[in-house]
Amino acid sequence: MSERLKNYLEEIGHYLGISREKQEILTEIKSHILEKAEQEFGDITDDAVERIIDTYGNPRRVAEKYMDDSQIIAPAFKGYLLRYTMILFAFHFVLILLSAIFRVSMVVIPFFYIPKMDSFQAFFYLPMAFVFDLGLVGIILYFVTQSRKEINLPWPKLKVNWQKIMEGKQTKSKVIPLILMLMGYTALVWIYWRSGTLFFKTIDLQDPRSLLTPLASQWYSLGLLALLGIGVAAYVVRFFTASEWVDLLRSAGQLVILGILFNRPMDDPFSEFVYIDLQIIANIFIAIIAAVLAIDFLKSLIILMKNSLMKKTSMEP
């Protein structure tokens, strides 16, 4: 066998990967090339083989034609790849941001491990996180494709009404509250950044004294910031969509934050002795917020179920 034919078949074999039929495919191609060379040039010379190989085609293209049926990711799922990756990366990004701000490492079972790092390291960690998320989503979509089952992946439907946004009729009255919200939120983040708490015993700008112990300050302040942050984010998303899912997810997220705060046992969160029982007042306060959020959650859930039921009824003949 000529060296050129050997290399050509080897290259096709390389692109065919670990196919079980690889050897058979290569034998068939080899037999074809040799026979054609003999028929068309009278003898199997290196030059004749070379000419036949040139007309047979590029090894990669030849191999690809055998793999037309075996998609790595089904074409219908390709749109999901980027969208799911972006959702995952948004989550990853927030964790990296928290890790950089509070200098802690985090493990989110089963996928994420965020090492303790400073902002400079976090900056270089972000591309790696993106590649990881892309790979993870790719692997999941690969297995979904290979299973060849009729799996319908969830596709977040954001009913963006661009016309209303462009006209600005509906949004003008919402923009001012949003600006105020963002300013207030930024101010709270700044206060926490400076003082390490959002709960003060005295309002002395020179010497602010925290009402809570350092640990309790951190937990309750971050809890409050998370609650408000989710609220602001949901308000922004509401600009783009009328979907009731936004409210449902917002109240669910806020309830989870409250749950975490409740489940954090602290013997005495207060830094100094106080005359009135602040713990009871704080608990009542948290319970009222939780009750309001739970009602909000149920309301959104009922509206969603009602909408879904109406949709089904209208689709029935």
């Binding site: 039929e21 058979e24 495919i25 034998t27 068939e28 191609i29 037999s31 074809h32 040799l34 026979e35 054609k36 028929q39 047979y56 085609g57 293209r61 030849v62 034609k65 055998y66 037309d68 049926d69």
Partner: protein
């Protein structure tokens, strides 16, 4: 010509080639002999398209392949199966119907 005809021809050939191969394999043939036979009928077929197609048809049990190693060079011979014949008959019906529709439309256009 306004558009490159080769890509359109490739699209059209995709279905046609399957019927063609199912028609030619009424008697046992191997890859190179199929190319030669079609060449005699002035139909040029790319070998690197034929072999993957034969493999796909074989996987679907529409044709049956068998290696012959008795000669100096191993050759894989293919022949149509019962399922292949049934499919070919259905595909030809579709092809004739499509032809009728197309002819009908062309006639209609001439009268416009």
């Amino acid at each position: 010509m306004a558009a490159d005809i080769s890509s359109f021809e490739t699209e059209m050939n995709r279905g046609f080639l399957q019927v063609l191969v199912l028609a030619i394999l009424e008697r046992e043939m191997y890859g190179y002999s199929i190319v030669k036979k079609l060449g005699e009928k002035k139909y040029s077929l790319e070998e690197n398209t034929l072999y993957p197609l034969l493999r796909r048809l074989e996987k679907k049990s529409l044709i049956k392949g068998k290696w012959d190693v008795s000669q100096d060079r191993p050759r894989k011979f293919y022949i149509i199966t019962k399922e292949g014949r049934e499919l070919r008959s259905e595909l030809l019906k579709i092809w004739r119907r499509q032809n009728e529709i197309l002819n009908h439309l062309i006639k209609e256009n001439r009268n416009v």
